[in-house]
């Protein structure tokens, strides 16, 4: 019944877990020994320990094979930016009167205030209603369908509501045959993705559709003609070297892209609309965020093609609930969305004003960016506690729940080590370390938009449910 050649070690290199006296005893004999300062696992309840023990047992032989394939897919594929297009033209199963949102599926009556406002703004921009009051009636009546973006190969940041005319990036993962989509970033200010529904916010959506999209299309065509389509993660890797985590901070990567785009931006001319576009571009330091998210989604989609892995393939919040998906399973494991902790608020605001965590951007944490790359980002460090040691700790924590190191995202200040990659649900439950998501905080009710920023920590229950579901999956296998 053995499948591997049994061979006894010819040199003892020992890891000791438990009584220190055993480490001493082998050290005195001249063997190499590493003593582990062992502690009870975070998931110490008997049913959790039993599920972990089982998942690391003989079944892990098959998990290892599937996980290795997932790691290779997440690490090696090079999604390219092939187009920017109206969502309705490219996103699968997007209905004529449908809005996509972050996180797990949700009914309109349970949607949080900032996302409702964003949805109303989108309904108006789509032309389905003439104002936000009319939009509210349509949404409340169920005339407008809602869909979880993730279930349509799409990821959206914060409280974005994505309609059929919303311009989206198309990231094509040719190795796996997957395409990921994410909306062109709305930029700062009075914008729906921060939960605004003012006329200015609606106008931003119309600007993106009517002015930004055709120009971005021409720029992409120009880029493709001169250099071929943009290798998204290769540019992100350069950004990581320059201090981006490519989630909270995308300054460097955005600048690299804009530099590439510059000849084609200039070629747009100096008409008022093109100047408005250039102005939008110059103020949007998170411009690369959604491009990276689309690419990350194309990678996690390819990971979902691999049956029988233990890797987290979706992690998203809709402001009401938080959901994760594990491996190839389409099942959302859902819990209440967490509050955003460790928050810094703008003057006059506090946690009493804060909406719950929202957005799909945590997809970046699943592919070696965001918190996984925090250790190399001084800007993120300033946010996580002030010192580079705080940032390093965030990356170390990700390392403890990941299966591999990225071979393309390297952290210069850590000897160019790769960022941690492929979050293993078993390690999350065992260590209790949830991937941390750095995120903005929206006002819970005023429609005032962003009131601060902080770090959201996903609740453990969804991951535990995912772990238990590994058992169910195998029972059916």
């Amino acid at each position: 019944m053995s499948v591997a050649q049994r061979e006894l070690p010819t040199e003892a290199n020992i890891i000791n877990l438990g009584l220190p006296l055993f480490a001493e005893a082998v050290r005195e004999q001249g063997a190499t020994v590493t003593h582990v300062d062992w502690g009870v696992p975070s998931g110490s309840e008997p049913d959790v320990v039993a599920a972990l023990t089982c998942s690391y047992g003989v079944r892990s032989v098959a998990f290892d094979v599937a996980n290795a394939e997932v790691i290779a897919r997440l690490d090696k594929a090079s999604p390219v930016l092939t187009a920017v297009a109206p969502a309705g033209d490219v996103i699968p199963r997007l209905g004529d009167r449908m809005l996509l949102h972050a996180g797990p599926p949700i009914e309109y009556e349970s949607v949080c205030d900032p996302l409702r406002r964003s949805m109303r703004a989108a309904v108006v921009a789509e032309g389905w209603a003439i104002d936000v009051d009319g939009a509210e009636s349509l949404l409340a009546s169920g005339t407008v369908l809602l869909g979880a973006a993730n279930d349509h190969d799409t990821v959206v940041p914060m409280a974005t509501a994505l309609g059929p005319t919303t311009p989206v990036w198309v990231a094509e993962n040719r190795e796996a045959g997957t395409r990921g989509f994410a909306p062109v970033n709305q930029g700062p200010g009075e914008v729906p993705w921060f939960g605004r529904e003012t006329p200015a916010a609606v106008n931003r959506l119309i600007f993106l559709r009517d002015i930004a999209q055709p120009r971005l299309s021409r720029i992409l065509e120009g880029l493709a003609e001169s250099k071929g389509p943009l290798d998204i993660m290769s540019m992100a890797a350069q950004g990581v070297q320059m201090g981006d985590d490519v989630h909270m901070r995308t300054q460097a990567t955005t600048n690299l892209l804009v530099r590439e785009m510059l000849p084609f931006i200039a070629a747009l001319g100096d008409d008022a609309a093109s100047l408005e576009f250039a102005d939008y571009l110059s103020k949007n330091h998170l411009f690369y965020l959604t491009i990276a998210m689309a690419a990350a989604k194309s990678l996690t989609l390819s990971a979902q093609q691999v049956p029988g892995s233990t890797v987290v393939t979706s992690m998203a919040r809709n402001g009401t609930t938080f959901g994760v998906k594990i491996g190839a399973s389409p099942v959302w494991h859902i819990t209440d969305a967490p509050p955003v902790a460790d928050a810094l608020y703008y003057a006059g605001f506090s946690d009493r004003d804060a909406a719950l965590d929202i957005g799909d951007s945590a997809v970046l944490e699943l592919v070696g960016l965001g918190g996984a790359a925090a250790a190399g980002s001084p800007a993120v460090a300033a946010f996580l506690g002030g010192s580079m040691a705080d940032a390093a700790r965030a990356t170390d924590e990700m390392t403890r729940v990941c299966l591999a190191d990225s071979t393309r995202f390297k952290i210069p200040v850590q000897g160019f080590r790769g960022t941690p990659l492929a979050v293993d649900v078993r390690k999350v439950v065992e260590t209790g370390i949830r991937p941390k998501v750095t995120t903005g905080i929206l006002h819970r009710s005023s429609g005032g938009g962003q009131i601060g920023a902080g770090v959201a920590t996903a609740p453990i229950e969804g991951f535990r449910a995912g772990l238990f579901a590994l058992d169910d999956d195998s029972a059916g296998m």
Partner: protein, 514 residues
């Protein structure tokens, strides 16, 4: 002579008090040093330093979270040398424990990041988490010695099937002894390399086998532990099968010495059938030697017999196993008052206790009771006036106190109690040496042995399980016991036979062949 006062301060540095003391000891042992201390900069310690004449400016800003090395020496060079040595001593062990990190790794995976080529895990975490950690170690390609017990049978079966699928070993749960690549794991004796591959269900069985091989001049290649339940029907010898497969493939192993209590009959036959191709001695203590065994397998019914058969297979000359040190059996009998006729065995090794019960069952006319009886009708409480052997390593004796192999003091109370009974004639002791065991068990036991043997007290028959390469040194430990008046035998089996002979006043020299 002038005195130099020198201080080194390490801000925000904590070391375990044991390490602090080791630094102090290095200072005190250094040439030219008249006084030295390495400790935390608590107000009391700083006060001490100031009173001794250390400069206040050197201690400026020192906080209780800081560590200092303070030296009074004949000159600056001596002070500096001593402080450097102390620093190296204190911090090197810290680094050795945690190479390349400020903090020790807190998980197997972190340890593997530091030592990617690690290949063996010793696991002694609480039983509730032992299977989880063992599974993870197997998954990372490590062989596992699982010392922990309180692992369920279902988990044990799953672990062993996992090990089989990975081509790895999971020795245990409840395995106390192994030796791989020449390194003893957990409780193990230091032995010379040689052709004998030992497989043992339990720890002291493995130790007796490896120690006797070494003392009798035949070395040991590997020692593989199984865990006490492996040969039960439900576990079915899963680990035994992996062990035999591993030793058959091991180029340094010429013969397998398999030691255990008698397995379930079907398991015994299964395990013996696997040898097929390599000579094997199956030493099943107390087994009926007329049991059929496959060709190529030699049966033995004691640990001593197992080692002797192994030597015969290798064509080695037989040692004289009846050698004793200290008084002869006849002399011991002469010393005993007539009413002292009972045996009290106080064992630290479970397998040694079991083997003694087997031998007394064969050579001693009266029933012997035990907390781990072979014949269930001879359990505790024993009737008044019965002989009793206790395995003091069992849970009921180790709750809240150290195992008697780690701390021989744990047996002193039992020794005093046994001696206080005027009917007890022989006290039977095992003294287990090797790594993991107490650094000087005989030294701890000798004062109390002298005390109880004085004035017509009971005779003490002792067996030292160890080798001359063990840190405690076999010969030195035997000498201490002999000097205290003990009769010391060559094997554990012989100690039991001698105890029975003395208690039953059998002056005929026992030449039982094992």
């Amino acid at each position: 002579m002038t005195t130099t006062f020198s201080i080194r301060l390490f801000k925000d540095t904590y070391l375990d008090s044991v390490l602090q003391m080791s630094g102090t000891r290095v200072l005190e042992e250094s040439d030219g040093v008249t006084w030295g201390s390495s400790a935390m900069a608590t107000p009391a310690n700083i006060e001490t330093l100031l009173q001794r004449g250390f400069g206040a400016q050197d201690l400026d800003g020192a906080k209780p979270g800081d560590l200092f090395i303070a030296v009074e020496a004949s000159d600056e060079t001596a002070a500096s040398d001593a402080a450097t040595r102390a620093e190296a001593a204190m911090f090197s062990s810290r680094r050795a424990a945690t190479p390349g990190l400020d903090q020790a790794p807190i998980s197997l995976d972190q340890a593997l990041r530091l030592e990617p080529s690690a290949n063996i895990a010793i696991i002694s975490v609480p039983g509730d988490y032992a299977a989880l950690e063992a599974n993870k170690a197997l998954g990372r390609g490590l062989d596992v010695l699982l010392f922990s017990d309180n692992v369920s049978r279902a988990d044990e079966i799953a672990l062993k099937d996992h090990a089989a699928a990975r081509g790895r070993l999971v020795m245990g749960p409840g395995a106390g002894t192994a030796m791989l690549a020449g390194i003893g794991l957990a409780f193990a004796n230091v032995v010379s390399p040689g052709p004998v591959g030992v497989i043992a269900a339990a720890g002291t069985g493995a130790q007796e086998a490896m120690a006797l091989c070494d003392r009798w001049g035949v070395g040991v290649s590997q020692v593989i532990g199984l865990g006490g339940r492996d040969l039960n029907e439900d576990i079915g010898g899963r680990m035994a099968a992996l062990a035999i497969e591993a030793l058959k493939a091991d180029p340094t192993t010429e013969v397998i010495l398999f030691v255990s209590k008698p397995p379930a009959p079907s398991v015994a036959q299964h395990v013996m059938s696997l040898a097929n191709g390599i000579p094997m001695v199956a030493a099943f203590m107390g087994v009926d030697l007329t049991m059929t065994a496959p060709a190529g397998v030699v049966l033995a019914d004691t640990l001593e017999g197992g080692v002797l058969r192994t030597m015969e297979l290798l064509g080695r000359g037989a040692p004289d196993t009846s050698v004793t040190h200290g008084p002869t059996i006849a002399e011991a009998i002469d010393r005993l008052p007539a009413e002292r006729t009972l045996i009290r065995g106080l064992f630290s090794g479970g397998t040694l206790c079991y083997e003694a019960l087997v031998l007394l069952g064969k050579t001693y006319p009266l029933p012997v009771y035990s907390n781990t009886p072979i014949d269930k009708s001879l359990g505790l409480p024993a009737p008044d006036g019965a002989s009793v052997l206790l395995d003091l390593g069992e849970e009921e004796y180790t709750k809240g106190r150290p195992h008697p192999m780690i701390d021989p003091m744990a047996r002193i109370e039992q020794l005093e109690q046994a001696a206080a009974d005027p009917r007890v004639g022989v006290i039977l002791l095992d003294v287990v040496l090797g790594y993991g065991a107490h650094p000087d068990p005989a030294g701890v036991l000798v004062p109390i042995i002298r005390e109880i043997m004085a004035d017509g007290g009971p005779q003490v028959v002792a067996y030292v399980l160890g080798t001359d390469q063990d840190p405690q040194h076999f010969g030195a430990q035997v000498a201490k016991l002999v000097e205290a008046g003990c009769l010391v035998t060559e094997t554990n089996a012989r100690a039991a036979i001698a105890a029975g002979a003395i208690a039953s006043r059998d002056r005929v020299k026992r030449s039982l062949s094992l």
